[in-house]
């Protein structure tokens, strides 16, 4: 085996891939330009929408205002609430969006309050409309305030203090550091994103360099050269690994930019401070490498086996779905893997990433994951080389 030959294939595949316009679009334009623009746009319009709803005055109708003059005074004193004097069908007004909420006060309300009973109020609103939800929130706040006042009055009548009805006060302290908050937030999404980005990055290139080469008839020219089958497979696999890894890094960078630009507009995440230690990054890379190798080797193997690009794509679809499924398991909260489960490729990496991002370093998990993925990637490479020597695979039509 000659590293010079492997490098020749690697460089040729890399140059060919980079010169493909589709690669540039998928690797650079989509993650670095499209994602940030998309997230900025979403953030901007979300904020614009919520600002408009928050600023707008809520038009409400109160039926039976005369039965609760004290409460109505509270409403009248609120700048963001406009009480409309409408007697006709309120339901249609609510449906049309002319009014955002309707409050019904029964005739016995005042009597019940004075007698120390509970006055029942009916609030009608449309939960599917943002403006109506805001009106409901505003009305609730006013009612809570009024309720608090009634409680205080009742207590003072009985000669009791406010503490009488709040005998326990629980003070909570969150000991999680800002980094840990950020880590736990990242640990939910990042492993899944890494795995998906690795696969997406490797997929197109792996198929193009194998089944694509068969389809274009260029494979025969390589087979009659001095380069061995193993060198061809390794050169191709390393090129797929490089593209896959770069796509993943650019994808994450794009998503970070997108997230930051979207979040800065929407207000950011409270209490989160993003910072991962060098050690964690090193360990993530250590686990990442065999995973990239595994994805590339398996996809190269499938690509070599397939007759053409179309067939390769149809073989890869279920593999991709399985990867998404294994990735999704890592998103689910509360699932813990047994030691043996760390032998399952993809699943193992996603859980080790999760642990690392949460600040946990379990060496047995890291070693099992690293070894399992490396061994499976090695098998896929050997199988790819074997397929490359099988004429019934190479010349299937």
């Amino acid at each position: 085996m000659s590293w010079k030959n492997i490098r020749l294939i690697f460089v040729k595949e890399l140059v060919g891939t980079i010169r493909d316009r589709r690669t540039i679009i998928a690797m650079i334009i989509i993650p670095l330009i499209f994602y940030p623009l998309l997230f900025t746009g979403i953030g901007y319009f979300n904020k614009l929408g919520s600002m408009k709803s928050e600023e707008a005055t809520s038009n409400i109708i109160i039926y039976g205002a005369e039965f609760a003059p004290q409460l109505v005074k509270y409403f009248q004193g609120n700048e963001k609430i406009e009480i409309l004097n409408i007697k006709e069908n309120s339901s249609s007004k609510l449906e049309n969006g002319d009014v955002q909420a309707v409050l019904e006060i029964p005739s016995d309300f005042k009597y019940k309050i004075e007698q120390g009973g509970a006055g029942v109020l009916i609030l009608k609103y449309d939960a599917t409309e943002a403006k109506s939800r805001i009106a409901q929130k505003r009305i609730n706040q006013i009612i809570e305030k009024y309720k608090g006042e009634i409680v205080l009055q009742r207590l003072s009548h009985l000669g009791l203090k406010e503490e009488f009805i709040t005998p326990l006060i629980l003070k909570e302290e969150n000991i999680a550091t800002a980094e840990k908050i950020a880590g736990s937030f990242l640990a939910v999404l990042l492993p899944y994103l890494i795995i998906i980005l690795i696969f997406i990055g490797a997929m197109h290139t792996a198929v193009d360099l194998t089944a694509g080469e068969k389809e274009r008839g260029t494979i025969a020219t390589l087979l009659v050269s001095q380069i061995s089958r193993l060198e061809i497979v390794l050169g191709k696999c390393f090129a797929v690994m490089f593209i896959s890894f770069t796509s993943m890094v650019l994808g994450l960078l794009g998503l970070t930019l997108a997230f930051l630009s979207g979040a800065s507009i929407a207000g950011g995440i409270e209490g989160a401070k993003f910072g991962i230690s060098i050690n964690t990054i090193f360990l993530i890379f250590l686990v990442l490498l065999p995973l990239v190798g595994l994805a590339s080797a398996v996809l190269v193997m499938v690509g070599i086996f397939a007759r053409n690009i179309r067939e390769a794509s149809s073989y890869i679809t279920p593999i991709y779905m399985l990867t998404i499924f294994l990735g999704i398991i890592s998103i689910s909260q509360g699932i813990e893997l047994t030691s043996k489960m760390f032998l399952v490729p993809v699943l193992n990496s996603s859980f080790v990433f999760k642990e690392l991002l949460m600040g946990k370093i379990c060496w047995d998990h890291i070693i099992t994951t690293f070894s399992a993925n490396t061994i499976i990637a090695g098998f896929a490479l050997l199988e790819s080389t074997r397929l490359f020597t099988k004429e019934e695979v190479l010349f299937r039509s």
Binding site: L8, D20, T221, V224, E392
Partner: protein, 248 residues
Amino acid sequence: MIQVEGLTKIFKDKKRGKVVAINNLKFECQKGQIFGLLGPNGAGKTTTLRILATMMVPTQGKAEVNGFDVVKDANKVRRHIGFLSSETGLYDRFTPRETVKFFGRINGIEDKIIEKRMAEIFRNLDMEDFQDVRVNKLSTGMKQKLSIARSIIHNPPILILDEPTVGLDIITARTVIEYVKKFKEEGKCIIYSTHIMREAEKLCDVIAIIHQGNIIAKGTLEELKKNSLSDDLEEIFFGLINQGENLK
């Protein structure tokens, strides 16, 4: 330079069972000679040439290229052959210079020698004007010239050409034929497969007519004419095929 003895290839097909692609072939080709394999599609020409080019392994029999066995010494065989077929493609995103350089390198040639030979080949094939244009922008003729350049950059003494003019217009096909003649003059040993009678007539020193995996006649054009009492290769060809069908 090429010796084939009892060469047989049997494929296993799910639907058709065992398919004998070539059966007990025997021929040889010397330095400075063009050996033609003439036959219709599916006759076994490509399978024979793929075995000689070490891409396939024979089921039975033996083939030697420049003294090396195509199975046992496949790597040494590859060093001595240039392979060109109508099906071999080119890398669209590379220029002719890059393509030829790459194939020179993967055949173990030093960069200095590649540069020298490349300049010579480009001059001879009249490729200098488009040597830095990407392949996807080249015409069919230009591409075929590049395919030739690619297959001879390592200066192989033996050329295996599998229907190199299929799909080409007459001008490009003529250019290819001219170059094959030139390679013969240079003393190369050439195996040339075709289904075009005129090409076989014009080029080949020895013609083997292959049908359903068997060589049904072999000899110089004169010998074939003499044996079949016809002056026209096409007539000879169809006469032999019909004979074979009747014998069945």
